[in-house]
């Protein structure tokens, strides 16, 4: 099963700055292994970010996104304690969901 994501959501005024780090190989299908065989494509196709249950960002990715992808976004009208939930799905059907609460500015 996939590794947990690292998600950080920090409030700046009424905007939550959300940073997501996903552990994923993101194989392009162009790389060859030591034996010269092509490593099959394996990449995240979709990431959905919700804020208190409402979708704020619906992402579609290709294999051109770097390994262990980073995604940064900003959510308007957020308050400390609001729930930010992130779900990704890859081309093999694997998926993972993680949730954090928006932190007050430090």
């Amino acid at each position: 099963m996939a590794e947990p994501m690292k998600i950080r959501a920090t409030l700046q005024g009424d905007v939550a700055d959300v940073r997501i780090l996903i552990q994923h190989p993101m194989e392009t299908g162009q790389r060859k292994d030591a034996k010269g065989d092509i490593v099959p494509m394996h990449f995240i196709q979709s990431v959905v970010v919700t804020h208190n249950g409402n979708i704020v960002l619906d992402v579609q990715w290709s294999q051109a996104i770097s390994r262990n992808p980073f995604l940064g976004l900003r959510v308007k009208g957020a308050k400390a304690g609001d729930k930010i939930s992130v779900t990704w799905t890859d081309n093999k059907g694997d998926k993972r969901t993680d949730e954090v609460a928006v932190a007050a500015p430090s």
């Binding site: 294999q63 051109a64 900003r74």
Partner: protein
């Protein structure tokens, strides 16, 4: 004996067909929301067409934050900020990648016109942001020089 063999073949054939059918439908059901045609386009123009982006308007309200020179093409940090009101989606295109369209981000419910991702880039190329707002498409370009390619 012969009859038995025939029924067996018939049945296994039917089972195979059924299996293939099932596989196909589930595959499609998964891929449906993912814009396969656009992501698998090898030319920028085709990717744009499959994205539905036409009549692009150059805009100074789109800011692409990217390094002028990226040493490692495997990790190129790109951030796109759109100040256009009612931004609905932000797509990022690396024009000289084998498959130029890298990502689309649909914004809704208070999400701001800002995304930040890290791309793989094969070679020095223009990075183009396409922003959809109120049904119109706006665009901006920034060149990123790559020292070591990150594809393959």
């Amino acid at each position: 004996m012969n009859q038995l063999r025939r029924t067996f073949l018939k049945l296994s054939g039917a089972a195979l067909a059924l299996g293939a059918g099932l596989l196909k439908t589930t595959g499609e059901a998964l891929a449906a929301p993912w814009n396969k045609a656009a992501f698998e386009s090898k030319a920028v123009a085709d990717a744009m067409k499959n994205l539905g982006a036409a009549n692009l308007i150059d805009s100074k309200d789109i800011i692409i934050t990217a390094p002028d020179i990226a040493e490692n093409g495997a990790v190129v940090p790109i951030a796109v900020t759109s100040k256009i009101p009612n931004t609905q989606s932000i797509s990022i295109i690396a024009e000289k990648n084998p498959f130029p369209l890298t990502s689309t981000h649909d914004v809704a419910h208070g999400g701001e016109g800002y995304v930040s991702v890290r791309l793989k880039m094969g070679q020095t190329s223009n990075v183009r942001a396409v922003v959809k707002a109120d049904g119109k498409y706006y665009t901006a370009v920034k060149e990123v020089k790559i020292t070591i390619g990150g594809c393959g």
